[in-house]
Amino acid sequence: MAGVSLSLKNVGPIKKADVEFGDLTVLVGPQATGKSIFLQFLKLLLDTGPIFRMLRKHGLNWDRQADRFLELYLGEGTKGVWRPADSEIVWNGNALKLDELVRSKKKAVEERSFFIPAQRVLTLSREGWLRPFTDYRPGDPFTVRDFSEKLRELMESGWGRGEAVYPQPRRLKAEIRTLLSGNIFSGFTLELERTGPQKRLVLSDTGHDMKLPFMVWSAGQREFVPLLLGLYWLLPPTKVPRRGRIRWVMIEELEMGLHPKAIEAMLVIVLDLLWRGYRVCLSTHSPHVLDLVWALRNLRENRADPGSVMRIFGVKSNPTTRKLGEAALEKSAKVYYFEARTGATSDISNLDPSSKERAEAGWGGLTELSTHIADIVAEAAASR
């Protein structure tokens, strides 16, 4: 894919964010530094027409006003994120004005991106079913409502009676299912249960005659199920590698609520997305995500065998996993640090532990506490 870049200036907490996207792009940085705003602006630029169509379809109008649009798109109270006098967007080298963008009559072509928001747990109601777009308040973020609606449509149309939602032989690679079954579902299956017109998702263990409703799932399972359904939406159960015209996938905090072993499984899924030709953008607070980026960079530099990529996850090398490994070593990865103090971003893609740049050596603060602890312990142990 050709080089794609996005620069935001004076948008919310962002003073200046210059990001050149790789096949995999990872955003790190403390809370409230603008990572989520940045990804939502990326979605807006990729899918302006479809976003306008979706809002209008549900009777939501912004009267061609940028601040009213932002309240609908980013959510209530966010109109101050855009400051007309000094906010700027530069998309692939072209300066854009938000007020012109929200006034434009963008033709609603097919979507090019799929956004999995951090608040994905909210897409399931207490009863364990997907909430429609209209179930949310107009001031709730568009990306949450849109994601929720997509999953609802998928679940309303895509499943036969008595069919397990997870595992599904035609969805996800067998090696990925093995990781998920062991590390997230612990042998349970995810089923769609119907009682009259009512539907709900339950975790089922037929061996022990157990059916667990949503409210008794573990926090990790509650976080993971919307993520899984999002992946089902993206990964068609056919030989087609991608869905429609979708080429971009944004996942906010893929690690949310997950144990490191479950994060490993998610990282294999990210490699699958890359192999399918999706461009993946992640925001994360997990050093494990950067461990993978760092490992891929070093394996690539050392011309390692593609099988070594899957060995990271304890997955045996076979023709399928080898393809994932080969693709992972061919793809480019970029890492950007969103700094709280300056509001600027820095490119820390090298992730060099011996870098003189603190942000790069400390992986955008993700390894800083561990490092600091190790320094203190080393000092004490040396003086013994």
């Binding site: 050093p287 532990p353 992986w363 390894t367 490092t371 004490a380 142990a381 003086s383």
Partner: protein
């Protein structure tokens, strides 16, 4: 006690004291940086000095004397490749060093000390991981490509 006195009080090192960083192999001298050379109070090539007596032991490379206020401290320096598979080698070396100083070099053992690892190539493990914790437990800081004595 000063660094030089401690070295000369240690039998196998008695003749091994060198001024500045001269005990270091030429290739290793550039791995140590010090903006104030007056802080350097000598060095010893431990690896060479003890080779005959302990040919098969995991010997440590160098001792460097550094002034620290009114006294001296020892910087025990190892120049070694730095990937995670080298961690165990470094740990064996530092354990050997501690055992050796405990038995044969009480004067050196009495000085304040730092254990440092300078990487002879790229560092191939990250900060904050298990490797750093293993090293920390033995008193060794995270490796660096160049050691800056000003930071001690």
């Amino acid at each position: 006690m000063r660094f030089r006195e401690a070295v000369e009080a240690t039998r196998p090192l008695r003749e091994q004291f060198r001024v500045g960083l001269q005990a270091l192999r030429r290739s290793d001298r550039g791995r140590v940086r010090c903006s104030d050379p007056r802080r350097l109070c000598g060095s010893v090539n431990l690896d060479e000095a003890l080779r005959e007596e302990y040919p098969n032991d995991p010997r440590w490379d160098y001792a460097i004397g550094v002034t620290r206020g009114k006294s001296d401290a020892i910087l025990w320096l190892e120049a070694h490749p730095a990937s995670s598979r080298h961690i165990d080698e470094i740990l064996k070396k530092v354990q050997w060093l501690k055992a050796w100083t405990g038995r044969h070099a009480p004067a050196l053992k009495a000085l304040p000390r730092y254990y440092r690892w300078v990487a002879t190539g790229k560092i191939a493990f990250r900060r904050g991981g298990q490797e750093e914790k293993k090293l920390a437990q033995e008193g060794i800081g995270f490796p660096s490509r160049q050691l800056n004595l000003d930071e001690l």
